[in-house]
Amino acid sequence: MEVLTGWWDDYLWGAVIVAKVFAASLLLMVLFGLIGAAAKLSDNRVAQKIANGYTVIFRGTPEILVILLLYFGSAIVLTAIAQVFDPDIRFVDVPPFWAGTIAIALIVGSYATETFRGAFLGVKPGSIEAARALGMSPLQTFIYIRIPEMWRIALPPFGNHMLSLVKDTALISIIGLNETLFVAKQAITVTGKPFTMYIVVGIIYLGFSSLITLSVMGIEKFGNRTTVGAR
């Protein structure tokens, strides 16, 4: 334990960064997932094609590669754009936080696209028809009938998506994000104790994922009070 003295605060800040990446990527992931699902469910052929391309590419490429390509790719593009305005600029640095956050949100968002689409289609048509027959408008039906049934269907896979986001945060260390794994690597070069340093990282990530799992279980229980729990 003594070898850890002096590293605690670095780990703490690493953990804060994990939490920040998680929060930002969660929002973006939901956004990408909703847009993707809406496009796939729409009648618009072009939108469908784009959404299909999106899910095929991001589900079929190694995650670490997506992070690297997005980081260096966006740097090249931004540099080119910046040079239009100021030819003296050599290189624009993309913050690893944002490149990484957007990358993992895009990856997990492609899975969320399928989850949201499945949940939309999983709502029983009977409920929807009953609402329409009662005179509820399409918007009222969507808000009061479809969404409450949808989130219950989507929640279990959505919990897995949140776990993916947290775990993928560790991958962003490869482009220099100073989250806990990055801290551990620095600590190892100084102390020469890889096992201890990596175990700390493991414990921190396990803490995050336990928190997520417990929250999802709580929400699921709340949602199921009307079905399984009510029996």
Binding site: K124, G126, S127, E129, A130, A131, R132, A133, L134, G135, M136, S137, Q140, Y144, I145, P148, E149, R152, R225, T226, T227, A230, R231
Partner: protein
């Protein structure tokens, strides 16, 4: 809408309905007067559900006219909404909203569609739950009720909108035999009170005692319609006779 008593409440004139190239309704002519009780029967796939679903625009007809209480059904959203306010529907599988309590199931459309206050809609909901004899289930969820109870809730939910007409699509055919009567009893009560009803059912006892007119459909057509006595004892069409032989022999 108006008090012109001679005008039928439902008027279908030469209605056709296609699903792709498949014709589900052929040249349907049907008039229903206020207070009339109609039973529709016929083999599976004959278009019974499609016919009544056209009346509240759950299906869109392709040709002909459908006029409900003076409102013609077209693509005009306001007209469709107006018709749906006048027409209630009860489904084979009840179609209650699973995430809402029973009383909420009865309140939601009152609040959203008729803009009734929360208190008022709860009062009306409880009144109709008493009429279908299950007020004590108000705060349960649909899955906690038996099929017969769920179907009675579905009828109460339709009644809460105070419709002029109620459509029933095989309301008892998803029920265990011992629950059929509790639902039919509610429907008989409604008929006695003068509700205009169109009922797709194979409950021939109900049809004989309640219906003013029985309609037999086959392959998308109305083959025969008659009063119950004439329909059962003296069917004109060969197809009707074959159908009756088959279901009455069970």
């Amino acid at each position: 809408m108006t008090d012109d008593n001679s005008r039928p409440l439902i008027q279908m004139v030469k209605v056709d309905k296609f699903f792709g190239s498949f014709q589900a309704l052929r040249n349907i002519d049907l008039e229903v007067q206020k207070g009339e009780r109609i039973v529709i029967c016929g083999p599976s796939g004959s278009g019974k559900s499609t016919l009544i679903r056209c009346i509240n625009r759950l299906e869109k007809h392709n040709a002909g006219e459908i006029i409900i209480d003076g409102i013609e059904l077209t693509d005009k959203v306001e007209d469709i909404d107006a018709v749906r306010r006048e027409v209630g529907m009860v489904f084979q599988n009840f179609n209650l909203f699973p995430h809402m309590t029973i009383v909420k199931n009865l309140m939601i459309a009152q609040q959203l569609v008729r803009k009734t206050s929360k208190d008022e809609s709860r009062k009306l909901a409880m009144r109709y739950l008493e009429r279908v004899k299950i007020p004590e289930q108000a705060d349960k969820y649909p899955i906690q009720l038996s099929g017969g109870q769920q179907q009675r809730v579905a009828i109460a939910r339709a009644l809460c909108m105070e419709p002029e007409i109620i459509l029933f699509d095989e309301p008892t055919s998803a029920l265990d035999p011992e629950m059929i009567n509790e639902v039919l009893d509610v429907m008989v009560d409604l008929a006695k009170e003068g509700m205009t009803m169109i009922c797709v059912t194979h409950e021939m006892g109900f049809a004989r005692s309640v219906a003013d007119r029985i309609i037999f459909m086959d392959e998308g057509e109305i083959v025969e319609q008659a009063e119950p006595a004439a329909f059962f004892d003296n069917p004109k069409s060969e197809r009707t006779r074959a159908f009756l032989d088959q279901i009455l022999s069970h």
